[in-house]
């Protein structure tokens, strides 16, 4: 079986991450419960005629895919696999409210078309003129991981050479509003640095697009190797640590060999306990978190994947993501763990190249 590499990355997030030469050197601090992305200049990447009907999610996805493709040095790609929890949710909101508000009259097709979950993947294919395999996964906090799993399988079996994968989700006003009602969004505005110790229910909602070119051939730009990935629809809190050690064992790695544990903590007092349970087995390991920087969304873990890739390539760990301080000298193996509200868990293992 082939090895699978991350050959390029791209991130549009609530931090200044779209410039690949920077690595969280300057942190954007928020005091909020919803944090939108810092927009790149979309016009630099998308011609106005193509951009005029694009939802924000599509713009973010198309630009991130172009940045990733550029860094990989490729003009074309064999396949495009995206993950998105909600798709272009603003357009879904627009269309539903128009149906209700106008009593099913004078409706226009654009917002309906864009509310189709695979609209980002389809638009990227259009922009890149890629006629290859094109899948979209929409499985909550395992949307991105499902895309990753699919791409990894194809590259391992040499079905394709280079695959563009990405996670993308956008903030929708109404969706956020109703998620506040059920305390999935924090009631209070909170400072970025305080998210981790919030001790309140709910998360700070965010949005973003993180795209990667994966390949079964290593090249100069390569960030890391993807060693393994496993997803779970359910996993009791009491079994997280046990499952993590099983996962590592299956891949012939000891807990001591993990140089960095990247966790999906979002400051939700009711569910961060899953991460706490896991860290009990990793007391001597350097730990990092990231959702205070990008917010929580269904594909936020793709930002964690971006972070880990960057750490392995640059061999540096930005201060803002450190959960403890272990003075780790070098980063060889990184384990990522994520879940949302106790469901759809994933372990991802990355290795330095």
């Amino acid at each position: 079986m082939n090895k699978v590499y991350i050959n390029s990355i791209a991130s549009i997030s609530a931090q200044k991450t779209f410039d690949n030469s920077l690595f969280l050197t300057e942190i954007e601090n928020y005091e909020a419960n919803v944090i939108p992305v810092i927009n790149p200049n979309y016009k630099d990447y998308i011609p106005p005629a193509a951009a005029r009907r694009m939802a924000k999610g599509i713009k973010m996805g198309v630009v991130a895919s172009k940045i990733a493709l550029q860094e990989s040095g490729l003009d074309t790609i064999d396949a495009i696999i995206t993950g998105t929890g909600m798709g272009c949710v603003r357009d879904s909101e627009k269309f539903v409210s128009a149906i209700i508000d106008n009593d099913e009259q004078y409706l226009t097709p654009t917002s309906f078309i864009q509310s189709t979950h695979n609209t980002v993947g389809g638009q990227i294919a259009l922009e890149l003129q890629c006629k290859g395999y094109n899948f979209t996964y929409v499985h909550a906090s395992n949307s991105f991981e499902s895309a990753l799993l699919d791409a990894k399988l194809q590259l391992e079996l040499d079905e394709e050479k280079n695959i563009l994968i990405g996670g993308v989700d956008e903030i929708g006003e109404h969706t956020t509003k109703i998620h506040k009602l059920v305390n999935h969004v924090k009631a209070e505005a909170i400072k970025t640095s305080d998210v981790i110790n919030a001790q309140t229910p709910g998360a700070v909602f965010g949005e973003g697009a993180n795209f990667f070119v994966l390949s079964n051939e290593k090249q100069a730009s390569t960030y890391a190797e993807i060693t393994a990935l496993k997803t779970y629809n359910t996993l009791p809190e009491t079994e997280v640590l046990h499952e993590a050690s099983n996962f590592l064992k299956e891949n012939n790695i000891n807990i001591e060999d993990i140089d960095l544990l990247v966790l999906g903590n979002n400051g939700d007092v009711d569910f961060d306990t899953f991460y706490t349970k896991l860290t009990e087995g990793f007391i001597n390991t350097q730990q990092a978190y990231y959702k205070h920087l990008c917010g929580e969304f269904n594909t936020a873990s793709s930002f964690g994947f971006w972070l880990a890739s960057k750490v392995l390539k640059t061999q540096t760990l930005p201060e803002a993501v450190k959960l403890n301080n272990k003075d780790t000298a070098s980063f060889k193996n990184i384990l990522l763990y994520n879940q949302y509200r106790g469901e759809n868990h994933s372990f991802t293992l990355l290795k330095q190249c």
């Binding site: 638009q123 499985h139 999935h184 779970y232 499952e243």
Partner: protein, 400 residues
């Protein structure tokens, strides 16, 4: 690695039947499930026809034994019913005896409840339970729970109208590569005001019975349905001495990269998908005995698909028909509905008639199968195409 991908169980609920047997009976007796919409209050009631399932949500909840505080969307309800049938049909008693995953497909997800309670959420706390039921993955999580699938690979695919075909494709690849021993694959979509109005804005809804591959076709009828299949590896089939209904032999997905919603005139994406599926199966076009076409009865699809079929099969186009005239277009579920129809065709050596056809299309001279036809079948090709240029083909066969 598993050489074969065996289908060992099937479950379905659609406008033409509440289980596999009922669906088959409707298919061979030419019984359509198309009517005026009754369960959704819409101003378009007299402008459209749909393929609606008779059961109310309450009846479906009762069948599943759900308590009144449940937050199942109709998509989840239909999906759970079909998936449970498939498990039963496969004779599975202990689902976790083998590494079992679930891959479901949906495009509507919990939109039926979202559109019902959109503003009510802001004022009525009793509706709040449906907020988390909106996203597409929710119906899949519920189906997994209904089947008792735990700590396993469970995911959802949404590529518009090719979604379920893609779920089957991923499932087959996971079995072949040895990642899973068994996987439940399929799709579910309920009718909603959202899709009714959405397709209405695209002006591709027929105001009467849809007529696939007819020169005067006026568009599609939306339908609701769910269908799931159990795929198992050679190992499970041998160890459990399972009866194999058919095999997933080939599959291919390609993108048309032409337009956000429309298919390219010459069906580039569709041609590529069929080509890839033949390649994976190790088949030549002449190995295909019947094509269950996507055939939505929109002007654009049937022309594009017909041309693609000619590009693949040349002068020897096999018997083909669309079953959309029976069920309506069931969107993300269509690929799984038609997978089951394909397997039933193989099992019974039957080709279903393409209903409602009157006039030959001008652009080409291929004509769908118009009468029920008995013929020994070895392999059936099923097409599913969706928005975003998404084109999928799956080949079902009697041989491993």
């Amino acid at each position: 690695m598993s050489k074969g991908v065996a289908i060992t169980g099937m479950g379905i609920i659609s406008a033409i039947g509440n289980n596999v047997v009922e669906n088959y009976q409707s298919l061979i007796h030419g019984k359509k499930g198309i009517s005026r919409v009754s369960k959704i209050k819409t101003n378009h009631v007299n402008d459209i026809m749909v393929g609606e399932i008779d059961f109310t949500n309450e009846a479906l909840e009762q069948q599943l034994g759900l308590t009144s505080d449940n937050n199942y969307s109709r998509t989840a309800l239909l999906g759970a019913i079909a998936a449970k049938q498939a498990i039963k049909d496969s004779g599975i008693t202990n689902i976790n005896a083998y590494k079992t995953g679930l891959i479901s497909a949906t495009s509507v997800g919990g939109m039926d409840m979202t559109e019902r309670y959109y503003y009510d959420y802001l004022t009525n706390k009793a509706t709040h339970k449906y907020i988390e039921g909106h996203h597409a993955g929710d119906s899949t999580q519920k189906i997994a729970a209904q089947l008792g699938i735990e700590k396993s690979l469970v995911t959802t695919i949404s590529t518009a109208c090719s979604s379920a075909a893609n779920a089957i494709m991923l499932g087959a690849r996971l079995i072949k590569s040895g990642q899973l021993d068994r996987v439940v694959v399929g799709g579910t979509d309920c009718l909603s005001k959202f899709t009714i109005n959405g397709f209405k804005t695209l002006m591709i809804l027929s105001d009467t019975y849809n007529t696939p591959f007819d020169e005067n076709r006026k568009g599609l009828n939306l339908g609701e349905a769910a269908a799931f299949l159990v795929l198992e590896s050679d190992k499970v089939v041998q160890e459990e001495n399972k009866k194999v209904l058919a095999y997933v032999k080939g599959y291919g997905n390609a993108n048309d990269a032409y337009h956000q919603t429309a298919s390219s005139e010459n069906g580039d994406g569709a041609t590529l998908a069929m080509q890839k599926a033949l390649e994976v199966a190790g088949y030549k076009p002449e190995n295909i005995d019947y094509v269950n076409a996507h055939g939505t009865a929109t002007g654009n699809n049937d022309l594009s698909e017909g041309r693609a079929i000619i590009r693949i099969f040349g002068d020897n186009v096999p018997d083909f028909s669309s079953t959309k005239a029976y069920t309506g277009h069931t969107l993300a579920a269509a690929g799984a509905i038609e997978a089951i129809y394909s397997v039933l065709a193989l099992q019974n050596n039957i080709i279903y008639p393409n209903l409602n056809f009157k006039t030959q299309m001008k652009e080409f001279n291929i004509t769908p199968q118009l009468e029920l036809k008995e013929k020994p079948l070895q392999s059936v090709m099923s097409n599913s195409f969706g928005f975003g240029g998404n084109c999928s083909t799956v080949i079902y066969s009697k041989e491993q």
